[in-house]
């Protein structure tokens, strides 16, 4: 059983192609179902975001699985395979695991450490699990990747600090006001960033959002998009006086908010802080407004600087995040090796148990004189002896350091005890559960 990954990402394919191969806009479950019709994949997960479409499958026949996944991509998206195969990347086993861990950690994202990706990986797994397309291999692998994502977020600063102007503005607002619930926002002039910022503030629970613009049509449109209230342009000064957060983005050539204006309405000392985000170029707010005691004035360059600082700080955290990925990859590989030993362990156990039972039945006549409790005791003792004998070899087999050693050991055991490997291969999954239980009893 091998893990095979095929996909396109922002590193290998242009956006036009990624759009054509996107699953996220449509039903992920349907994609998983369609993929299930291909016989080579025992398990499959489809991960799709605007930056990547990746298919993880588990198969005994990697070459055939790759072919079938390519064919699936072509048919599902109605695209000749020649159009995307040059952009397709493929990883097997450890490389595929490593890739998924890096994706979940946010290391493979365009903006390193962006927070959405871990949720998207979880959604992808969830969709596949709901359609019963995940089994022991991908279940373990994806849950492990969630853990990697969580560890990287908790232990490094990879996801820290806003990396867009609108998020930086919201983060600052939260640092000034704490909870934003009930805070009054004033948006002056409509623009892309001011709209985005207002929307982020809305999702952070601000109270009323007032919108004004020289063209009242613009104000109305923006007001309805952020669930706010449009006010007349002439009421600007009054609105500034009652606002906690002001976002300005007009095309005005001269400042529309001046120090004299604010001081005329609120007096020399404002009781509550006022956070002004001036996104306009040329600026809408007189620079000296920032000198008023409780006023925090940020223009677009200030916010851009914060974003740049945050980005470079994230970059400096990449190394620590990669170290966590490497560490977890090693643990995962060790787990997989221990799992590779399972068929041998099961066969060995069955072999020992068969001997135990045949010996017991051979002695059946001699033991028939014993009372039932004593016979049960004998049965129990023989079982315990077998378990004790096998405990240490089982541990050793599970903890073998690399694959080569494992093959050598397995081979040796098979030959020493004349085990037939084929007998137990089919029941790997149940066997692994059985071994764990047996371990627990043995200890």
């Amino acid at each position: 059983m091998q893990v095979i990954l095929l996909g396109v990402s922002h590193r290998t394919a242009p956006v036009e192609l990624r759009e054509r191969l996107d699953f996220s806009s449509r039903d992920l479950g349907a994609a998983v179902e369609a993929l299930a019709l291909r016989p080579s994949a025992a398990e499959s997960v489809v991960l799709s975001t605007c930056n990547r479409s990746e298919i993880y499958v588990v198969s005994t026949d990697p070459a055939r699985a790759r072919e079938e996944v390519t064919a699936f991509l072509s048919e599902y998206h109605n695209l000749p395979s020649a159009a995307f195969t040059p952009h397709l990347f493929s990883h097997d086993n450890e490389a595929a695991v490593r890739h998924l861990f890096r994706v979940a950690a946010g290391l493979d994202s365009i903006v390193v450490g962006e927070p959405q990706i871990l949720g998207q990986v979880k959604d992808a797994f969830q969709a596949a699990a709901e359609h019963h397309r995940t089994g022991p291999m991908l279940s373990k692998l994806f849950h492990w990747s969630f853990l990697v994502g969580k560890r990287v977020r908790a232990e490094t600063g990879l996801g820290e600090g806003a990396v867009s102007i609108s998020f930086a503005a919201v983060a600052l607002a939260r640092k000034i006001f704490g909870q934003l619930t009930g805070r009054r926002v004033l948006v002056v002039g409509a623009g892309e960033i001011s709209t985005l910022t207002a929307q982020h503030l809305r999702t952070n629970g601000v109270g009323e959002i007032l919108v004004t613009s020289r063209t009242s049509g613009h104000a109305d449109a923006l007001a309805s998009s952020v669930n706010g209230r449009s006010i007349a342009w002439d009421d600007l000064a009054q609105a500034v006086a009652v606002a906690d957060i002001v976002i300005t983005a007009t095309g005005s050539q001269r400042p529309i908010i001046t120090r004299a204006q604010i001081e005329a309405v609120t007096g020399r000392h404002r009781r509550d802080p006022l956070f002004i985000i001036d996104i306009a170029v040329p600026r809408d707010v007189e620079a000296s407004v920032g000198d008023i005691e409780q006023v925090f004035l940020y223009n677009v360059d200030d916010l851009q600087t914060i974003v740049q600082e945050n980005l470079s700080r994230r970059t400096s955290e990449v190394e620590r995040a990669e170290a966590i990925v490497a560490e977890e990859l090693a643990k995962y590989a060790a787990w997989q090796r221990s799992r590779g030993a399972v068929p041998t362990i099961v066969a060995l156990r069955e072999h020992f148990d068969r001997i135990r039972r045949s010996e017991l039945s051979r002695l059946d006549g001699k033991l028939s004189g014993l009372p039932p409790e004593a016979r049960a005791r004998v049965e129990e003792i023989t079982r315990l002896i077998v378990e004790k004998l096998l405990l240490e070899p089982t541990e050793q087999l599970k903890g073998l350091p690399d694959e080569e050693t494992q093959i050598a050991y397995t081979e040796a055991i098979n030959r020493l005890f004349r085990l037939r490997e084929s007998e137990s291969l089919s029941s790997t999954v149940e066997a692994s559960a059985e071994v764990t239980q047996a371990d627990r009893r043995g200890k």
């Binding site: 232990e155 600052l172 640092k175 006001f177 704490g178 000392h269 802080p273 925090f296 914060i306």
Partner: protein, 275 residues
């Protein structure tokens, strides 16, 4: 006696410092655990002293400082548990450690003048010590407010920005601490006046009681402290003195209170020396 709690508090300062710099949750939990152990050990010490002298030990300055430190540590612990905010520890605990060295270096015996055998006295001292503890919290909240205010105002979002609670939270906690402290300060001063009047009637010869007047430095400065905090509350309400001005006022108030508490108590006052 106070050596064990002092050692635990000192260890907590170091761990709170590491937590502040590295921001690892596990380190933060270790810091809280050390602080909790320190408070428990300190409680034990104060309990033992109480058993020994058969009254709560805060009649002389050393034992009073120890009790004050205990209240401060306990108040901070309460603040931390209720707000789940550990960043303040690195600012509060140095005060705890600094002040607890005083009773460690001068371990005075808590001898008590029979004049002090009154419930009024107990209320007087306990209220004032608790008031000072909340003022210490307020001052440190104010200090951190100012540090972070500067960073946001000057647009250099740096060390404190990423570590401290929001300005609003710091300001609100500062305001609350000042109100609570002022309340206990008022109770302490009023009870002191009432009890002095009563005690004078009972023992007119006592020199300490004779020295109780506004001219006594200890009493004068206590009243001054009360005036500073009263003004701070008034200014916040009517003049809109929130934020930085409130922060500076609470820092000023605490400096005055601290001067009164230690140097004045040891060296200057003639009224509050019941030895």
């Amino acid at each position: 006696m106070n050596l064990l709690p002092l050692a635990l508090y000192a260890a907590a300062v170091v761990v709170y410092g590491i937590h502040f710099a590295k921001r690892q949750p596990s380190v933060g939990r270790a810091a809280t655990t050390l602080l909790l152990l320190g408070v428990l050990a300190h409680t034990f010490v104060i309990g033992m002293q109480t058993m020994e002298v058969r009254h709560v030990p805060f009649s002389n300055t050393s034992t009073a400082v120890s009790s004050f430190v205990w209240m401060l540590a306990l108040s901070y612990l309460y603040l931390e548990v209720t707000t789940d905010e550990r960043a303040m520890g690195v600012f509060i605990l140095p005060i705890v450690v600094g002040l607890l060295t005083v009773p460690v270096l001068y371990p005075g015996v808590d001898y008590r003048d029979p004049v002090l055998d009154s419930a009024w006295f107990w209320v007087h001292v306990a209220s004032l010590l608790f008031a000072y503890a909340t003022f210490a919290l307020a001052a440190m909240l104010g200090l951190t407010y100012v540090l972070q205010f500067k960073e946001i105002k000057k647009k250099h979002l740096g060390y404190f920005y990423t570590r401290l609670p929001s300005l609003h939270v710091l300001d609100a906690m500062n305001s609350r601490a000042v109100v609570v402290g002022w309340l206990f300060l008022t109770i302490g001063v009023v009870v002191g006046i009432v009890w002095t009047a009563q005690a004078r009637a009972l023992s007119p010869e006592n020199s300490n009681l004779q020295a109780m007047s506004l001219q006594d430095p200890k009493i004068f400065i206590a009243v001054l402290t009360w005036a500073v905090y009263s003004f701070s509350m008034f200014a916040r309400k009517t003049l809109g003195w929130t934020g930085r001005r409130a922060a500076w006022l609470s820092a000023l108030g605490f400096v005055i209170a601290l001067l009164n508490f230690i140097p004045v108590s040891y060296f200057v006052t003639t009224s509050h020396t019941f030895q």
